[in-house]
């Protein structure tokens, strides 16, 4: 940059006229900037700041995630800073002071006492002006400018620089938030088991739903076999939200898996996990429920680290909360001994593990949510049970918190094999599905009226898939019928992005489904939609 020759060693920019000042402010708030991507915007703003304030260097330093350092992120005239990834501790030196005091700082004459960063000194910078990057009162970084000749920056310079800083702060925060969400969602997807392991004699099903606004949290579930042949089932909830919670969740999940190879006692496993977290992760806190299912599957050993109790369902009875000593959460305080509880899993029973997002609602006591959950737990196929629980407890609401749900079911011996159909999602498949349903329902002793009711209710769910689930490419219509005692459980599933029904005929379809069977649950997630229809045979309707 060329300085005006007559200004000499110092430039008096306080004498600019008001019109001139307005023009300069406009330069920084120009709507053109909004059209640029964040990186281009940052580069452009730094360039304009350099011209406007007639300085030699500009730099943006952002707070690192630990909030203890500022890291050089974008510079003009000080490229070494970004290349070397300069880190300035909060409170130390020039930039560190601005971040700590959250106000502009002017240095008329740079020296060892007021500037820490050797690059600024080696570069020969003589005077500096810096302002904080603030978003909603939080410091997210620092913007500073410097000159190679001594200069007395004044209040107007500081105001102008603050204007640029505000612009940068907002755009940067927006970008960081977006990037964090994307990263957290990707992390969550990579850490939750895509497909649960297949365990002979047990049925497993799980759900994960982000909290309000699509925000990912620290909930997870995990199922894996142990060397002894036992099965380890885990549900956990790391306190916090967004990327930091997801990252901590990933580490905890790995730690649980590692310790499970050292001990198959869930209480001891949680104790080891707690010791690790307290040693290495001082700011992490989590609740975890760990269950180890015996090889013969007749009993599960359960330990809880401050986690809501699991719910057990047994045939013919209401779901019940399992009495588990809620030992302290992971990461809270050292615990010498943790408790383990035996939970019987008779044939036909199920165990439901979940995170608090499932049962907690604002302005409602936790007991109400727990009651709703125990009422929804009726033993049955794991997928259907998951669908019923999500339908009853979440429905069309959005939970403020994220929700993880894991069902372990020990299917009863009903003697009746399930019916599984997979047909192209086309109108002409409907007839074939009806024929198969009639024949199956006849064989399990359903009355003519019950057959009609079920065939029509399932038919409506199928027609929905045919009409709404898939685009022109088509897809698969899956129908699954199972008997649980005298209860018929039908699941109609698609793997499409279901569009909302349109027109009044679909409203009639829903009316029919609800009028013809005892229960209807619609459960949608990223993999598709499941409609679960249940009807108990032999009841007077």
């Amino acid at each position: 940059m060329v300085r005006p020759a007559e200004s000499g060693a110092t430039t008096d920019i306080g004498s600019h006229t008001t019109g001139d000042r307005l023009r300069r402010i406009q330069t920084l708030t120009d709507t053109e900037l909004a059209r640029l991507g964040v990186d281009e915007m940052l580069a452009e703003v730094l360039e304009r700041v350099r011209d406007l304030l007639e300085v030699d260097t500009t730099a943006v330093l952002l707070l690192d995630p630990s909030a203890t350092f500022l890291v050089a992120t974008a510079t003009r005239g000080l490229e070494e800073e970004t290349r070397q990834g300069v880190r300035i501790p909060i409170g130390k030196g020039f930039a560190g002071r601005i971040a700590a005091e959250r106000r502009p700082v002017i240095i008329d004459e740079v020296d060892h006492s007021n500037v820490m960063n050797p690059i600024l000194r080696e570069k020969g910078i003589r005077s500096l002006l810096g302002v904080p990057l603030l978003v909603g009162g939080d410091v997210i970084g620092v913007l500073h400018v410097g000159t190679l000749v001594p200069r007395a920056f004044d209040g107007e310079d500081a105001e102008l620089l603050q204007l640029a800083a505000d612009r940068i702060a907002l755009a940067t925060r927006a970008r960081m938030t977006q990037a964090e969400r994307t990263a957290a969602a990707a992390l969550q997807r990579s850490l939750l088991p895509g497909a649960l392991p297949s365990v002979p004699g047990l049925e497993l099903a799980a759900r994960y739903v982000p909290g309000g606004g699509g925000e990912i949290g620290g909930d997870w579930y995990d199922v894996f076999g142990l060397p002894s042949g036992r099965l380890c089932v885990v549900v956990g909830d790391v306190v916090g939200r967004g990327l930091p919670a997801s990252v901590a969740m990933g580490r905890l999940r790995s730690a649980v898996r590692a310790y499970a190879l050292l001990t198959e006692d869930p209480a001891e496993l949680l104790r080891k996990l707690d010791v690790q977290v307290q040693h290495f992760e001082r700011d992490v806190m989590a609740t975890v429920l760990c269950a180890v299912v015996e090889v013969d599957q007749s009993v599960a050993w359960v330990a809880s680290a401050g986690h809501p109790p699991p719910v057990r369902g047994t045939p013919g009875e209401r779901g019940e909360l399992v009495e588990v000593d809620p030992d302290p959460p992971i990461g809270l305080a050292p615990v010498r001994r943790r408790h383990v509880h035996a939970v019987d899993l008779p044939v036909g029973s199920c165990l439901v593990l979940y995170t608090d997002g499932l049962v907690e609602r604002r302005r409602e006591s936790l007991d109400v949510g727990l009651q709703r959950l125990t009422e929804a737990v009726i033993p049955g196929p794991a997928e259907q049970l998951c669908a019923r629980i999500m339908g009853r407890l979440i429905g069309n609401e959005t939970s403020a918190d994220d929700v993880a749900l894991l069902v372990v079911a020990r299917p009863g011996d009903d003697g009746t094999a399930p019916l599984r159909l997979a047909e192209p999602a086309e109108p002409r498949s409907l007839r074939a599905v009806r024929q198969a349903l009639r024949s199956y329902l006849g064989s399990v002793g359903a009355s003519a009226e019950e057959v009609s009711d079920l065939v029509l209710a399932v038919g409506e769910a199928c027609a929905n898939v045919v009409e709404h689930a898939y685009g022109p490419g088509g897809g698969l219509l899956e129908v699954h019928l199972e008997m649980h005692g005298r209860r018929v459980s039908a699941t109609v599933r698609d793997t499409g992005a279901w569009r909302e029904a349109r027109g009044v005929n679909r409203g009639r379809g829903t009316t029919l489904m609800h009028g013809l069977v005892d229960e209807v649950h619609v459960d949608r997630d990223a993999t598709g939609t499941r409609v679960v229809l249940e009807k108990t045979l032999g009841r007077k309707s």
Partner: protein
């Protein structure tokens, strides 16, 4: 394709008796609607639609009945729907309230 039979008679001038048999679903509802429109000519003064032969009628088929009812009302043609006792489609007709727009005889 889902199979349906449509028999239309005119026992006295202007009075149509139409019997549906088989199944009506999403697959053939549009075709059934078209057939009914073709069968009921301008001479019709009243129509009796007998659903006694139907073994399946879904909401797409029911929409056809509502459409027919609207059209005949505009043409000032009387419509009566007959659903005999024991018909598998009787419950569906009740649930969606077809009786609120046309006469439904549960004969």
């Amino acid at each position: 394709m889902t199979e349906v039979s449509i028999d239309a008679r005119e026992p006295e001038p202007g009075r149509w008796e139409i019997s549906l048999g088989g199944e009506v679903d999403l697959d053939n509802a549009d075709a059934v609607e078209q057939r009914l429109q073709d069968v009921i000519t301008n001479r019709a003064r009243s129509v009796v639609l007998d659903l006694g032969g139907l073994t399946y009628l879904d909401s797409a088929g029911i929409r056809t009945l509502f459409t027919l009812a609207n059209r005949l009302e505009l043409l000032q043609v009387g419509l009566e729907v007959v659903v005999p006792a024991g018909s598998p489609v009787r419950k569906a007709i009740r649930l969606v309230g077809l009786g609120e727009v046309v006469t439904v005889r549960e004969g």
